[in-house]
Amino acid sequence: MSKLVVVTGGLREPSSTRLLADRIDAAVREQLTDQGVETTSEIIELRPIGRAIMDALLTGFAGSDLEAVFEAIDDADGMIAVSPAFNASYSGLFKSFFDVLPEETLSDMPVLIAATGGTERHSLVLEHAMRPMFSYLHAIVSPTGVYAATDDFGAHLSERIGQAARDFARLLRSCGPRQHRDVFTEEINAMESLLRDSAAEPGPGEPLD
């Protein structure tokens, strides 16, 4: 059983970014199902949580709806992330979402990157913007991304989606179910060691374990 989340940053309704996200999602699930891995996916559209993302940037905390989205991502085994290309990069909303997502959420997460744009001239947005950002976040970025210009929706897009889905399915299967890090407990344990090692006076009585 594999749980996927699909983050899609399209702004229009209907959105070609969402269309691309849906097609990749379907292709990946088909691959995994064929290989005997039962797969579910959850679509996360950024437009409806746009204000919540900005509020989280301004206040430093996420509202409850946004918290629920973060939990869904934390719970997933893999992510498909799709952004429109704006000004030679991902969209500001897409970046802002990953700016407020709690640190370490994407650590060790297999991610398939994809983007849409008006023309094929923006295709390197995958390699020059999206891949470095997800690498920085310690995600495991699938080697094959999908860039779709408007014209591509009339051309060989299905084949490229199929190739990216095959590579991503292989990555997901080799990574297996995700090990969730409990950063909270890790920090407390590290602090206890630090206190016991360097506190200047003998610590309190033996803890009750």
Binding site: L58, E187, S198
Partner: protein
């Protein structure tokens, strides 16, 4: 002052009043802070705490100077901080400053330690923000020894060594000021407070209550883990943020421009959203009473409640009116209601007198043979 302590904590920001377009001068802001602190005592509250900042638009860069001046003009008020930067201040200077304040105020000083969240303060004071946690542990370890050992020989990583150092003046009555550790969401700070059996203060103003619940829960559990007492006997303080008028709609209307332009959360969520998501309460005194009593539902019986009432450009006159309402209508009810159902074994808020008593009892215990501490159940 048995049971719980109530008071206010001030950030000390100089902010334009959005309704007049005017900001107070630094001199006006500092004098207003003194006026507020005196009023806190006058209306029957217990604690005034000042922040510490080293950059504009804030004025309290020298907290014990401010608190010493207030101490001279009050007789009952507990003087505290919110927070004292344990990372960038020299622990020797903290020990000296608060020892003097303790003597001047007749034992009315305590302090809340924090790491500070303004990055450049670290290099300005010769420290490295990446080492904030080990720096906190080392500095606080030294501070504790300075207050407890007559002659200190000390070696560490972040400060020059001390050989044959004796703190002057020694703590009043041989008892160091009570220490709180303040945090919004850093589990390490809850762990530090629990390790030493100190107080833990959850900021509880800018973040959802769920974070406070988690942090206080962690602190209580670890306090028991380190055998300082039961989880319900840990010493907990909470922040809170209120704005009141007799008629709740008047409170909302009057506070809205201050909220909308506030430095911390302004231009983001609406007042209504922020009120729903955080402990901010804007309304009638009764609404403040009801909301505050609800804090106990998720942190348990606690010891200290401080309110933020003077930020975001609110004029002094308005702040003093808030204090009148807190003193006359809100806190007397909170004292009474919080006392109901509060178990015997939950400690009162610590004071100098209670610490002196505890030290005397501990000394008497050491004198007799192997007296084991009895905990009422």
């Amino acid at each position: 002052m048995a049971g719980m302590q109530f008071g206010i904590f001030s950030v000390g920001d100089v902010t334009v009043d959005p309704t007049t377009g005017r900001a107070p001068t630094e001199a006006e802001r500092i004098q207003a802070t003194v006026t507020m602190a005196k009023k806190v005592e006058e209306v029957g509250l217990d604690v005034f705490a000042t922040g510490e900042h080293h950059n504009p638009p804030f004025v309290p860069s020298s907290p014990t100077t401010l608190l010493g001046f207030i101490a001279a003009q009050t007789s009952r008020l507990i003087l505290s901080t919110s927070t004292t930067l344990i990372t960038t201040n020299d622990p020797v200077k903290i020990a000296e400053d608060f020892s003097v304040l303790q003597h001047l105020s007749g034992g009315r000083a305590d302090l809340m330690l924090g790491r500070g969240n303004t990055g450049p303060v670290y290099p300005w004071f010769g420290q490295d923000i990446r080492a904030a946690v080990p720096l906190t542990v080392e500095h606080y370890g030294l501070l504790r020894r300075l207050w407890r050992e007559k002659v200190v020989d000390w070696d560490g990583e972040f400060r020059s060594s001390l050989q044959g150092f004796t703190l002057a003046p020694q703590p009043l009555d041989g008892v160091p000021p009570f220490v709180w550790h303040g945090s919004i969401r850093t589990p390490e700070i809850a762990e530090l407070a629990a390790y030493y059996g100190d107080g833990f203060f959850a900021n509880h103003i800018f973040w959802p209550a769920s974070h406070t619940e988690r942090m206080v829960g962690l602190y209580r559990k670890r306090f028991e883990h380190y055998r300082h007492g039961g989880a319900d006997q840990a010493i907990v303080g909470l922040g809170g943020q209120v704005f009141m008028r007799p008629n709740s709609q008047d409170a909302v209307n009057e506070f809205r421009p201050y909220f909308d332009n506030a430095p911390v959360y302004g231009h983001g969520p609406s007042l209504e959203e922020f009120t729903a998501q955080t402990p901010l309460t804007v309304g009638s005194p009764q609404q403040v009473i009801d909301r505050t009593l609800g804090f106990r539902d998720y942190v348990g019986d606690y010891q200290r409640q401080l309110f933020l009432i003077d930020h975001a450009g609110l004029p002094l006159k308005t702040v003093l009116e808030q204090l009148d309402m807190l003193g006359e209508e809100v806190v007397p009810v909170l004292r009474k209601e919080f006392a109901i159902g509060r178990p015997e074994r939950v400690p009162d808020a610590p004071t100098h007198e209670s610490l002196v008593r505890a030290a005397a009892e501990a000394a008497a215990d050491d004198g007799s043979d192997d007296t084991t501490e009895e905990v009422d159940t």
